[in-house]
Symmetry: C2
Subunit: 436 residues, 2 copies
């Protein structure tokens, strides 16, 4: 994923102090003196994947409510479940399980958005995954100066608490949407993020209804509205950006803002199809995201790549759109750039932190191989990832997680799920044996 | 997948003489006296998946040519590769590897179409998978009475050779398309299939160009043309059926013909989006298919389910379209009905052959579980299948194939791939170590 996208055969990659120190042919190495040697025979060695948008706590709601009209899904299921169950304990346990799932499927860096992001940060340090936890803000029940003041304090405290604590954690801030946050909160939160030099994001133009609502309230479409608030800049990411017109694409590009594309979530919720090929042509830095498990329902970035590559071919009636290399760049160096981390991760290059995954190719569905990019995007799934290294540390080896006690993490979420199922009066016939 | 779609908790399933003999609560069983007991704790036990359309030999071309314009893909890559390399040995080895991939990802029944289908039948018996190998016909370079006569002989000989040979194999016949086969061949091949009571299928209305071509040549759209030839009936399957109008949907429904929907292939080749929700509403028996590995690029029916469920939500702007149950029925009992096998497979019911898979739910990405259907369609991948049983025989157990020597099957295809790469002058930099 360097600019030249070289493929190096039979290389030795040396890691020192968490960073990639050497990429050489074995014959060029006089003395191989490593504390640990990982045999990558038969594997593709690629940068760990970057998930630019998720809500990890929502692993606790995986499959809770599917195939429903959007408003029913949100108003009658997800929102009440969050109101009732989204406490710090749920955020920690749901996030830790989500991190386990991500490491097991090749994601080594993610950006999260939820409440209690301090719990997400703690879980990330435990799991050994690179994290951009974004404390989320909402002006509920409605915007007010007091609410903005409170949000400002929470934002400042969150950044103060987490900046510089761990090389794995880059704290960030997020406003939920332009219809759940008032302009003062949006400006205040962005201002605090900008002052600290950390990422800021919002869900932007996810649905047609949202565009209509913002237009009615603000007299502008969402992207134009955010521009009018002065929040579009290179450290602002517009998540989803499904319903944006050509002028808005130019505006995002001109301001250097970035986009997180979440095709599986957008499809499952029938939100629409983001004009990603146009965004890429306009030069917008674009990454991929899985979104939360209530709208996907997994965190597998391989599935997201496959979907992104195929969806836009179908939408454009053009099989050359979103080729495998382009999509893989979005899922690695592109996503890293969205999060402001492309100087330290997103490619296997000397001097970057060693965020690396090994894909085991010795499987029927990955045989034969003519083109590694095609395999990664069109044939691999997360379960083909054999080993994952984050910041130079082996966190998953031969499919075994080394940082998280998996049975405990699973049981912690199953315990919460039993309470959620009871509290939400979910029909559990045929599954109580599985969640109990 | 019975009509009532019951979920039975903590059941014991008894298998005798290849068939499901018993489904009971353990406490109802006085004496458990089995030769082999498989512990399915923590698993979903569901019918094996049915792949209604593939070209298994094309596993040898997996990733050979992607992201290309359709005509360049076909004329400059796939067709020349087939002309040069599609011999009996390639069909056997490519198909055996494809069957290994299918069993490892939960498919227990498939319909194939290619040349040398006797080799596919032999491989299926070896792999222990239920097969509907369809000998394929083409009038190349152009239709002629002599060509039709030759096709008739090949068709009769193929059915004579394979009818009644193995309970796993139902031989079938296929005409490639209405533009590569003349009307006499189409009528002759269908007549022979009908006389033998075996399935017949054609690629139908896959692309807009095809519709245009058939209209120019025959004065009718593809479905109307096939109707005029008298070949639409309950044992005829229209594969793809992307570009069909409402009247054609009614015509397919009225004649009781079936449809194989291949969303990943249609998306990757940018063929279009088949109007499947309309077909289901019209009562058309519809199954799912992966298509060949040159246009997908895998044979994982879980991926196909996920794609089918999400694609049509996006296309219809309606998240309630193609719910998880509907999609799972298409991938099991629906597909079995497309192949005329719904009396013997496609559901876990007493009296049916035991074609069963176990999905291991004790994984982060399948935790927690509220709704098994959602999990199967939106969260599982083929690698979550722990054990596969076909015709009462355990063919894959704890992820190990028991019928196919996997390293040998992989090496046989890698050997062919080296020849193909050399013959097609494929740039193999960065991958010769992997295919050699």
């Amino acid at each position: 994923m360097s600019p030249q996208m070289e493929i190096v055969e039979d290389a030795v990659i040396g890691i020192r102090h968490g960073k990639i120190a050497l990429i050489e042919k074995p014959e060029a190495i006089v003395r191989l003196d490593a504390r640990e040697i990982i045999d990558a025979s038969g594997c593709l060695v690629i940068p760990g994947l970057v998930n630019t948008h998720t809500h990890l706590a929502m692993t606790c709601f995986r499959g809770l409510a599917d195939d429903l009209p959007l408003m029913e899904w949100w108003n009658n299921h997800i929102f009440p479940a969050e109101m009732k169950f989204a406490n710090r304990e749920m955020v920690y346990n749901g996030s830790l399980l989500g991190m386990a799932e991500m490491l097991l499927s090749g994601t080594t860096t993610f950006c999260d958005g939820y409440f209690h992001e301090d719990a997400v940060s703690e879980a990330a340090i435990k799991a050994g995954i690179r994290a951009v936890p974004a404390q989320g803000f909402l002006d509920l029940p409605s915007p007010s100066p007091a609410k903005t003041e409170k949000n400002r304090k929470v934002a400042e405290n969150f950044l103060r608490a987490w900046l510089g604590v761990s090389p794995l954690v880059t704290p960030a801030l997020a406003c939920h949407t332009a219809f759940t946050c008032g302009p003062d909160t949006i400006r205040a939160v962005k201002e605090i993020a900008a002052a600290a030099g950390v990422p800021f994001w919002m869900h932007v133009a996810e649905t047609r209804d949202e565009v209509q609502l913002i237009r009615e309230r603000q007299g502008l479409t969402p992207v134009r509205y955010l521009h009018s608030l002065g929040v579009l800049d290179p450290t602002t990411c517009a998540v989803h950006a499904v319903w944006v017109d050509d002028e808005e694409i130019s505006l995002i590009a001109a301001k250097g803002a970035t986009v997180s594309h979440n095709p599986e979530s957008n499809m499952k919720l029938a939100s629409g199809i983001a004009p990603v090929p146009k965004m890429l042509a306009a030069g917008i830095t674009t990454g991929l995201g899985t979104d939360g498990c209530a709208s996907n329902n997994d965190l597998d970035m391989f599935g997201e790549m496959n979907m992104a590559a195929k969806l836009h071919k179908a939408a454009a009636h053009d099989p050359t759109v979103m080729d495998a290399r382009t999509v893989l760049r979005m899922a690695t160096i592109g996503g890293a750039a969205v999060l402001g981390l492309d100087k330290i991760t997103g490619s296997v290059e000397i001097g970057k932190f060693a965020d690396i995954i090994l894909i085991d190719l010795r499987k029927p569905h990955l045989t034969p191989i003519y083109n590694p990019y095609s395999h990664i995007v069109y044939a691999c799934t997360g379960s083909d990832v054999k080993t994952a290294i984050v910041h130079g540390k082996v966190v998953m080896k031969d499919r075994a997680l080394l940082t998280v006690n998996l049975p405990e993490a699973i049981e912690a979420v199953n315990k919460l799920a039993r309470e959620i199922a009871a509290g939400m009066k979910i029909e559990t016939r045929g599954r109580h044996d599985l969640i109990s």
